[in-house]
Amino acid sequence: MNIVTDNKWIGQRTIRPDGVDKVTGRAAFAADTNMPGMIWGKVLRSPHPHARIKGIDTSKAEALPGVKAVVTARDIVDFPLDKSVMLGIQDMRWMCRNVMAREKALFPGHPVAAVAATTEAIAAQACELIEVDYEVLPWSIEIDDALKSDAPILHDFMKFEGKPSNIAGRLEVKKGDIAAGFEAAEIVIERSFTTRPVHQGYIEPHACLISVAADNKTTIWSSSQGQFMVRAMTAYLTGIAQSDIRAIPAEIGGGFGGKTIVYLEPLATLLAKKSGRPVKMVMTREEVMRATGPTSGSKSTVKIGAKKDGTIVAAHGIYYLQAGAFPGSPIRGAVGCSFAPYDIPHVLSEGFDVCSNRSKVAAYRAPGAPIGAYAVECVLDELAEALKMDPLELRLKNAAKEGTKAAHGPVYPRIGYIETLEAAKASPHYKAPLGKLQGRGVASGFWFNAGGESSAQVNITEDGNVVVTTGHPDIGGSRAGIANICAELLGIDYRRVSVLIGDTATIGFSNLTGGSRVLFASSIVATQSVEKVIQTLRERAAKIWEIDPEAVKWDQGAAHPVSPNAGQFPPLTLAELAEKAPSMGGPIGAGVQLNTQGADGGFGTHIADVEVDVDLGIVRVIRYTAIQDVGRAIHPAYVEGQLQGGVSQGIGWALNEEYIYNKQGKVDNPGFLDYRMPVCSDLPMIDCIMVEVPNPKHPQGVKGVGEVPLIPVMSAISNAIYNALGKRFYSLPMSPPKVLEVIDAPETRQAAE
């Protein structure tokens, strides 16, 4: 381990190495590139929420001049329903049916065919000529409807407790005995909550450009959170060997989890293979909203029991999450994270995965955890009020710390949760006065974080600078963090370090970008690679000086004798050693590939102030502070950026974002006009307090930061609205008509006046 404490670059707000391209419009996103001979692909999508596909006739489309290839489910590799084949957390049985409907169309927007043609217009026209024989079936979208005894069943093989069901699975996490726990409680609060599906909202639609040569050698250029995932999924779904596929990650215009699976790549690959031409496919915004995966809508019930002194003795959470068309809602996050900030002796946390006729869920920033935390943190607020305790004090009294056994399994090492609570208490925000119809709320949250596979290659250029190749798409500024770390370790100016993201052919396997793991994992392998490079540099200097390598130290960008006794030699700089490299054994570089371990969970506590227009029901967030244990802020500005971005997504989720369905079961707001994400004028400045409790298992003390910031937001705002109005909300979003309805209920008027 190599914890550097006297830092020149770590902790500095350096300029990111990929920044200039991004501010000049040069950075190449997936839709920006063309290939000679390129043609365009379009997808034909089911108009029905639920329908058996009895036949597809593509003959008229194939006959249209300009059409070069047509693909249907027949062309996608089949994964039989009786055998689960996992790729990461994705089951290929669902993926092969999600990228193209097989037996049934299961949501409006479900792909049923794809066409490639010489222009987009011709491809679109060809789609309209494809005749699909649908047997329309009844459908259900909301959890309640999907659970009714007479609900249309999406998957015939799915049974729950012996009966055909839309419940795909149940997960539980348990500690102690909640029956005994609640018995001993002196106060018990039980509440139910609902949330709507919300979309990750990345501004860049999915896009890819794929070329398949006659020998199956395939090049994929796509917007994704994992080029290795793209390669593997495409291989599984098309039958082309992984080693024949080169997946190149384009710059990605936002993902937040939504681009950790493929939608277009297998289709474009098959179209490219059949046509012999490179195929480009770009989703429209409408396709993104209809046919990619927002997160789950949910129904939760949380019951918490405590003693009068505020000690929480028992907690029970039941979370129903929508999976969409195929199993796989993030119940793990809801179940595992919702009580995790607290030391509670008796816990039962249960999650139910419910299928219904909407698009298959995709990961969204700490998947499942925001849903669970929303419920738990709101109940804790009611508990604090009932006990006449400050809500931060209640949390402090029950805070998890080193040695606490979490219900989801681990015993916590040194964690920084209490520090976030104390920083919140001590913050100027928490003490600031509030005006009329203004209120303040707090909430906390936890996310597992992750390590996982990562590869890095560090090469010294002939002119003595550094090129670092890493394996994970950069969605938050991780290249900047890596540059800081490598510069620090080598003792050189950070501008001499170039950081690139390799593709599947040029860098070793690296797990996808998500789980708040990129900087954590890539910095471990980059650090070890740099350490190997430094070892080589010391050996080269030792050879020149004819001393033992142990007598050489590396400091401030050069080799030095470790002490005057070792010899009186002027330092040998990186540039000098690089110049001499050919005659001294060859190029200087090293690569490391690991399944990194030691990731610690993340904890955050937020303070939100709102102001309510009680005549219109409009809630505005007027002040916000996000406090988080970030381990070590390698590049503080990009760490702040993660906090600010997560908070703004949470504000949207809390106040205005929701999927609205019409009477035909179709999404009624598939665009940015009526899917209302926060705009610049909606938000205040978002202040960040970064608490640093370094992760001792990481060379620079890094902890993942990206996902925690979304988790506490909705509850913090709900609690703030209560503080302003004296009225609780139990469903999201807290949009103006809903707020006004609650305000106009007689009791509230008195509280506000």
Partner: protein, 289 residues
């Protein structure tokens, strides 16, 4: 695929000739911020697009002989904003036009396009109605005028005759002590379609309201001129009782729908709330005149 022709004539006569000849396949292009969205969504497939931005009269803002204003139908919100005096005389109309979409949209979108698009929620329309604007229209049968509140016929439709093109808005001269205001309710702070939009134009003399007009949008198939609300204000000192009566008149005038932007109950209540707020702003401004 439809053959699409694009024409950018220099004269109104040329535009009318081509537009009339195209019949239902013709569309007028001013800012294009509605038309292009509709074309992209496939709800509109024009055969002919007549771009009117090269016609001088469409793009001008001028003061009329009697001190009123004539605003060309294709004048963008940004151009209206940059005019040296328009916003001082008609701050409500200006702010209404400049609430349409984003700054980017305001760089192109026009009050004319907003009116002719026929959305019940178009922001500029309630303010124009409150202002008592008169539109000048010209078609194959010649030029005519009509009060702006008679233009909308229903969602997406106007009362223009085939081949007629909106030419300009004429706003009357302002008596001393007059001003206007426009407010809308949207869930965010920008970028939403109005859930309710309300324009008030009034004249105060010695604290008494001597004239008023109220335009109410997004609560019926067309923008409404709420005469009952105006009546409640006229002759009053804009006291609580008068404002409540006018607010109630606005709520009573509502015939809204439940949709993804708002519910019937919500819109009906908000109409009353906005009346009071908008009147207060207009009155404040009027006192300064």
């Amino acid at each position: 695929m439809t053959e699409l022709r694009y024409l950018a004539p220099n004269s109104l006569d040329e535009a009318i000739k081509a537009f009339a000849a195209a019949g239902s396949a013709g569309r007028i292009l001013a800012g294009g911020t509605d038309l292009l969205v509709q074309m992209r969504a496939g709800v509109v497939k024009p055969g002919l697009i007549v771009d009117i931005k090269k016609i001088a009269e469409m793009m001008q803002i001028e003061q009329t002989a009697d001190g009123g204003f004539r605003v060309g139908a294709a004048v963008s919100g940004m151009a209206l904003h940059d005019h040296v005096s328009f916003g001082k005389v008609w701050p409500g109309v200006l702010e209404a036009v400049n609430l349409i979409g984003s700054k980017q949209v305001q760089g192109r979108a026009s009050a004319g396009g907003n009116l002719c698009n026929g959305s019940p929620a178009g922001d500029s329309v309630p303010a124009m109605v409150a202002a008592g604007a008169v539109v000048t229209v010209q078609g194959p049968e010649g030029r005519r005028e009509m009060p702006v509140e008679q233009v909308p016929a229903g969602p997406g439709r106007t009362n223009f005759k085939p081949g007629e093109i909106l030419v300009s808005f004429t706003l009357p001269p302002r008596p001393k002590g007059s001003s206007d205001a426009y407010l809308r309710m949207i869930p965010r702070t920008e970028m939403d379609i109005a859930v309710v939009g309300l324009g008030v134009s009034l004249t105060l003399k010695d604290g008494v309201c001597t004239a008023a007009r109220v335009g109410l949008g997004a609560v019926a198939p067309t923008v409404l001129l709420v005469e009952a609300a105006a009546k409640a204000l006229i002759g009053s000192k804009l006291d609580e009782a008068a404002l409540n009566a006018a607010a109630a008149a606005c709520s009573a005038a509502c015939r809204p729908i439940d949709d993804k932007r708002g519910t019937i109950i919500y819109r009906t209540k908000v109409a009353g709330v906005l009346l009071k707020r908008t009147t207060a702003i207009a009155a404040q401004r009027a006192k300064g005149n």
